[in-house]
């Protein structure tokens, strides 16, 4: 087989091994690469900075273990910032796995020496997953938070938590971040942001990022954390390197490998086409 045809038919197992290697090496041997903080990430940071001390923030999400590499660094960075600012927050999961994963993230952060004294119920509360359409929950919650949430993820009355004191309606909520791999941001916009003007941030996975620029341009969202890179940029703002920065190096090399392989296949395609036309 001619060389240019051969490079178009690379064994897929070779690609799999190459991808595994470029993903693993930066994780095993971490190093620092340049990261530029974009305006959209800065917008989220500024919105968290602007939350009033007596207000509560909502970290809403419907991600699971499948998108943990992207959604977890985003969640972690936002929680870290809220802990630092002593702003209490509520976890609002719209999927069963999210309730557990976000709770575990908060518990892990609370064990760090920097956040000594942070405790469940006082600094954060988990509203638990509710089997109800998102729009119906948001509509109801906006007008009566404790009446809609009722109990936390363990079945304890929501009003018994110090973190929920004074939280009655959407007016008591100073910031919402929706961390999601699904294109359902429009529900938050339609039923909360456009009605009550609550600052809303969007933290999608990379494949959903393109959808976020329209509401960002329309100022319906205060900012956006685009995938894993968004989490990494937020870590730069917090001056606390974490999984976001570490994993984005793996992503860098995976992207580079993909670009390289596609370019290689196209070089082979054009060269063999030219060779074919020359032969007649």
């Amino acid at each position: 087989m001619p060389f240019f045809e051969r490079i178009q038919k690379l064994d897929r197992r070779v690609m799999y091994v190459l991808l595994a290697l470029v993903m693993m090496i930066p994780m095993l041997r971490p190093f620092q690469m340049p990261t530029v903080v974009t305006a959209q990430v800065q917008g989220v940071y500024d919105a968290v900075e602007a939350i009033e001390p007596d207000q509560i923030a909502i970290l809403s999400g419907d991600w699971g273990a499948g998108t943990i590499a992207e959604s977890m660094p985003q969640t972690e960075a936002l929680m870290r910032h809220l802990f630092r600012r002593d702003i209490r927050f509520a976890i609002l999961p719209f999927a069963p796995q999210t309730a557990t994963l976000m709770q575990q993230t908060a518990e892990r952060l609370a064990k760090e020496p920097e956040f000594k004294g942070k405790a469940y119920g006082k600094d954060w509360v988990n509203w638990g997953w509710k089997a109800v359409p998102m729009f119906a929950f948001l509509k109801s919650m906006a007008k009566n938070v404790p009446g809609t949430v009722v109990q936390d993820y363990q079945g304890k009355p929501i009003e018994s938590f110090a973190a929920m004191s004074g939280v009655k309606t959407i007016r008591d909520i100073g910031f919402v971040a929706h961390i999601t791999p699904i294109g359902n941001l429009s529900i938050w916009i339609a039923f909360i942001q456009s009605v009550y003007r609550t600052p809303l941030a969007y933290a999608p996975t990379a494949v959903m990022v393109a959808q976020g620029y329209d509401p960002l341009d329309a100022k319906q969202i205060v900012g956006m954390l685009p995938g894993l890179v968004g989490g990494a940029q937020y870590e730069v703002l917090l001056k606390q390197p974490g999984n976001g920065l570490r994993w984005s190096n793996s992503l860098s090399f995976a992207d580079l490998l993909m670009v390289g392989l596609i370019a290689l296949a196209n070089i082979g395609y054009f060269a063999s086409k030219r060779e074919g036309s020359r032969k007649g």
């Binding site: 690379l10 690609m15 799999y16 991808l19 690469m33 340049p34 530029v36 974009t38 699971g64 273990a65 499948g66 998108t67 943990i68 590499a69 796995q97 557990t100 575990q104 089997a131 109800v132 359409p133 119906a136 509509k139 109801s140 906006a142 007008k143 009566n144 009446g147 809609t148 109990q151 363990q154 079945g155 009655k168 009550y196 990379a206 990022v209 393109a210 959808q211 620029y213 329209d214 960002l216 685009p226 995938g227 890179v229 990494a232 984005s248 190096n249 992503l251 860098s252 090399f253 995976a254 992207d255 580079l256 993909m258 670009v259 392989l261 596609i262 296949a265 196209n266 395609y269 054009f270």
Partner: protein
């Protein structure tokens, strides 16, 4: 928020009340479903159509009708528009402004919470239906000894193990014990989450193989798409930023840094295209919603005899 006495439709956390409500709801639900079976076949579709219409109408009106604060503003306003609105809709605005509702509520708002709770109950039934469906399909597969009966048995095993681990950690004598928490942790973090993450991460391998095999520059459109894809992909990640980090950060030349090109593509041509798509989607969704709301939808599922 006004303090009220015993609220029948509110969710109850007291154990005795909760059990009484569960038993009562089950009994009522069973009676209701039994009653529905007596509805003549001819009347079943119109019944569903009426319920769908009323539910849709309620949520639309609750969203669109002005709230108390708007009513007060219109009643106090002195300009011509307010006077016209007052003359036309005074019958609605005056009682609303004089009501004891919260500022952002209209007459329909107080029931939203109860309906949301009712919705949760209905959603619970749909879960039961889903479960019944799975048990039915996999049970049949095992009983018939079909080719892949082993996977069906695995379903029952996995389902029972996860349910048991969940119940043990939150209910009964093992509640709150370290051992039951460890079993739940093993079942979720150790198994479910790990499998889920592994399944999803396989996509990266398929994507790289598929992109390598199928992404060929065969037309001008494909060329534009490939160049934009490369720029956006690399402009988003640190290595792309590093590739053009030698270009000054200020001045006209800074526009040629990969992260700036990528940001421009995403915020300008992409946002414009997304907006166009969103308009189309919204119109389509509205048409679809109207068809479902008014029970005009046709097709195999909607035309089946009930």
């Amino acid at each position: 928020m006004k303090e009220q006495g015993f609220q029948f439709f509110a969710a109850h956390t007291d154990t005795a009340t909760k059990i009484a409500f569960i038993a009562g709801s089950l009994l009522l639900g069973a009676l209701f479903i039994a009653g529905l079976t007596f509805v003549p076949r001819r009347a079943r579709k119109p019944l569903i159509a009426v319920v769908t219409f009323v539910a849709g109408l309620y949520f639309s009106l609750e969203y669109l009708l002005p709230a108390k604060e708007t009513a007060e503003r219109v009643l106090e306003g002195g300009n011509g528009v307010n006077r016209t609105v007052r003359a036309l809709f005074g019958w609605y605005l005056r009682p609303l402004a004089g009501s004891r509702l919260d500022a952002d509520q209209n007459f329909l708002s107080p029931s939203v919470q109860q309906l949301t709770t009712a919705w949760q109950v209905i959603a619970g039934f749909t879960f039961a239906l889903g479960l019944w469906n799975l048990v039915h399909i996999h049970g049949k597969s095992i009983l018939r000894g079909s080719k892949n009966w082993f996977f069906s048995a695995l379903f029952f095993l996995g389902f029972a193990a996860m349910a048991l681990a969940g119940f043990m950690s939150t209910h009964g004598p093992y509640k709150g014990m370290e051992e039951s928490a460890a079993v739940f942790d093993l079942a979720t973090r150790g198994l479910l989450f790990a499998l889920d993450a592994a399944m999803f991460s396989l996509i990266a391998f398929f994507i790289i193989s598929a992109a390598y095999r199928s992404f060929r520059i065969r037309s001008a459109e494909a060329t534009i798409m490939m160049v934009s894809a490369f720029l956006v992909m690399l402009g988003q990640v640190p290595i792309g930023i590093w590739l053009t980090s030698w270009i000054p950060e200020t001045g006209f030349i800074s526009n040629f840094r990969l992260e700036h090109i990528s940001y421009w593509i995403l915020t300008q041509p992409n946002a414009a295209a997304q907006r166009g798509i969103n308009f189309g989607l919204a119109v389509g969704a509205m048409a679809m919603a109207l068809r479902i709301w008014l029970s005009l939808e046709r097709g195999s599922y909607f035309e089946r005899e009930l």
